[in-house]
């Protein structure tokens, strides 16, 4: 599903990732842990195609991301979902409109889009919040809406960068449960997190990074 071969990345001369090789299979739940600046976000960005590696190769569903043309990047992103710590919802749009955006981009019919949006909102327990503006939602609801937007396209891979970073323990548990449920449906989940509670709750493969180096890979295939 995802393969990294000797991937190295620098930011203006500073090492962000050093010689990382990984293999992630379909349906796995991978948790990237480590202190701030360890390279977790960089690794996710490389897989997502918003950064290019300085060295090495990245294969996502047998497609070499390192060689992806700029024009193909959006199409690559449509095959996956991305959840961020700061939610990134359009504040003046309703929950329905926010979740429907990826479908509008794909050009789905109104009927099909409505069906999928309702399905995604139901999966995160937000069906009743469809007409609410994103700006009036609580932090937990915003993150749920964000997850709904990430899964509305039925992605094969779901990437998450500190999705519980802004949430209290109660909400963290709820959001972690959502990710667990999504993973249980066969979606590959790759999450960067500091949170020990989330790591224990998801009980997935744990990859530890520090200063751009891979320290440990518990449950690695290769």
């Amino acid at each position: 599903m995802i393969q990294l071969f000797h991937v190295t990345k620098y930011y203006e001369g500073c090492l962000a990732l050093s010689d990382i090789s990984l293999r992630i299979e379909k349906g796995e739940c991978v948790l990237l842990t480590g202190p701030s600046g360890a390279g977790k976000t960089t690794l996710l960005k490389l897989i997502f195609g918003s950064e290019h590696p300085d060295d090495g190769q990245i294969l996502v569903q047998n497609r070499n991301i390192a060689r992806l043309r700029r024009a193909d990047v959006p199409y690559h992103r449509r095959t996956m979902g991305f959840v961020l710590q700061d939610f990134k919802l359009l504040p003046h749009r309703t929950v329905f409109e926010n979740v429907a955006l990826p479908l509008i981009i794909r050009g789905l019919s109104s009927f099909e889009a409505r069906r999928k949006v309702i399905e995604a909102l139901r999966a995160v327990g937000m069906e009743h919040k469809q007409p609410a503006l994103a700006s009036v939602l609580s932090a937990g609801e915003q993150q749920r809406a964000c997850i709904a937007r990430a899964i509305v396209n039925s992605p094969i891979i779901l990437l998450a960068d500190e999705p519980t970073g802004n949430l209290d323990p109660q909400l963290t548990t709820e959001i972690a449960e959502l990710f667990k449920a999504i993973n249980a449906r066969g979606t590959t989940v790759m999450m960067a997190t500091h949170n020990r509670q989330v790591v224990e709750q998801l009980n997935g493969r744990v990859i530890r990074l520090d200063c751009g180096h891979l320290l440990s890979d518990q449950g690695a295939y290769a």
Partner: protein, 299 residues
């Protein structure tokens, strides 16, 4: 359909949100296009005038003032026989005086001190359509000038050619002025759209995050630029029409150029449409330039 609705809604929401910059964009585009349109209107009317005169080349032959009737008859026969002349009219001295009094009723006092009728008789010759070249006209004029009964020959070919030259210079001028004004308009629209672009940077990042292509992200902004340009073009057309009617009304009241003002005409419908289309294109181009720089290096 859903996409189209999304693009239109996004564009009009942005126009409404950034009302001040939208209005500034429309007004500046309108002024730019009005300046260019004024020049274009002048060119259009000059061009029309030349075309009208070119299809109606006239040569005026003034016989000697003391010409005897049989000599006048003989001159008439010579003119009649010339194959280059399509038709002619003989205007007698009496008729010339009558025409002057009819055309310039307020200026008849000018004749008071001149005693007898100062106007000469004349032959007004219309040239055959198959004699269009300058050389042919010059030969005819030469032939007439060498006629012993002819005092003077006047023809409008020379000033038509000068006018044509002026038109050519105006065409070059229109290109240069149009280019400069278009550039100014593009810059203004580009800045207006860029402002909208910067205030919605977060939204654009979200669209990128969920797989929006540059084209998908750009379309609402292109619509926004087109609307600003189109409305600017429409407003410019309104300014031009108003200014034109006012100018026509004012010049019509002046008897000296009253005849000229009746020949003036506004842009025909396709050209008016072209001005609005030009505004739309300028708007799109401004948006494209603004976005191209912004998007080029972003993944």
């Amino acid at each position: 359909m859903r996409r189209l609705w999304y693009f239109l809604r996004e564009a009009f929401m942005s126009l409404r949100t950034h009302q001040a910059s939208t209005v500034i964009g429309i007004i500046t585009t309108a002024f730019t296009l009005t300046s260019f349109g004024t020049f274009l209107l002048l060119y259009h009317n000059m061009h029309n005038l030349v075309e009208r005169v070119q299809t109606n080349i006239q040569i005026i032959v003034y016989p000697k003032d003391d010409i005897k009737p049989q000599m006048l008859q003989s001159l008439k026969t010579v003119i009649q026989a010339d194959s280059a002349i399509d038709s002619f009219t003989l205007i007698s001295k009496k008729q010339a005086l009558k025409d002057f009094k009819h055309q310039f009723p307020d200026e008849t006092y000018l004749l008071d001190g001149l005693g007898e009728n100062p106007f000469p008789a004349s032959f007004v010759l219309n040239i055959s359509d198959h004699i269009p070249s300058t050389d042919d006209i010059s030969n005819l004029v030469n032939r007439l000038q060498h006629n012993p009964h002819v005092e003077r020959v006047r023809y409008n070919r020379e000033w038509i050619e000068r006018l044509t030259l002026v038109i050519t210079y105006m065409e070059i001028g229109a290109l240069i002025i149009g280019g400069v004004l278009a550039l100014a308009s593009i810059t203004i629209i580009a800045n207006t759209v860029q402002l909208a672009f910067h205030t919605r940077q977060g939204e654009i990042e979200i669209l990128r995050l969920i797989g929006g292509t540059n084209l998908f992200i750009s379309i609402p902004y292109l619509i926004e630029g087109a609307v600003i340009g189109g409305l600017g073009g429409g407003l410019a057309l309104g300014f031009l029409r108003g200014g034109f009617e006012f100018f026509k009304y004012k010049t019509h009241m002046l008897s000296v150029i009253g005849g000229f003002s009746s020949m003036l005409e506004f842009f025909p419908f396709p050209l008016s449409l072209l001005l609005i289309t030009g505004g739309i294109l300028l708007g799109c181009l401004g948006t494209f330039i603004s976005m191209y720089g912004w998007m080029r290096f972003r993944l």
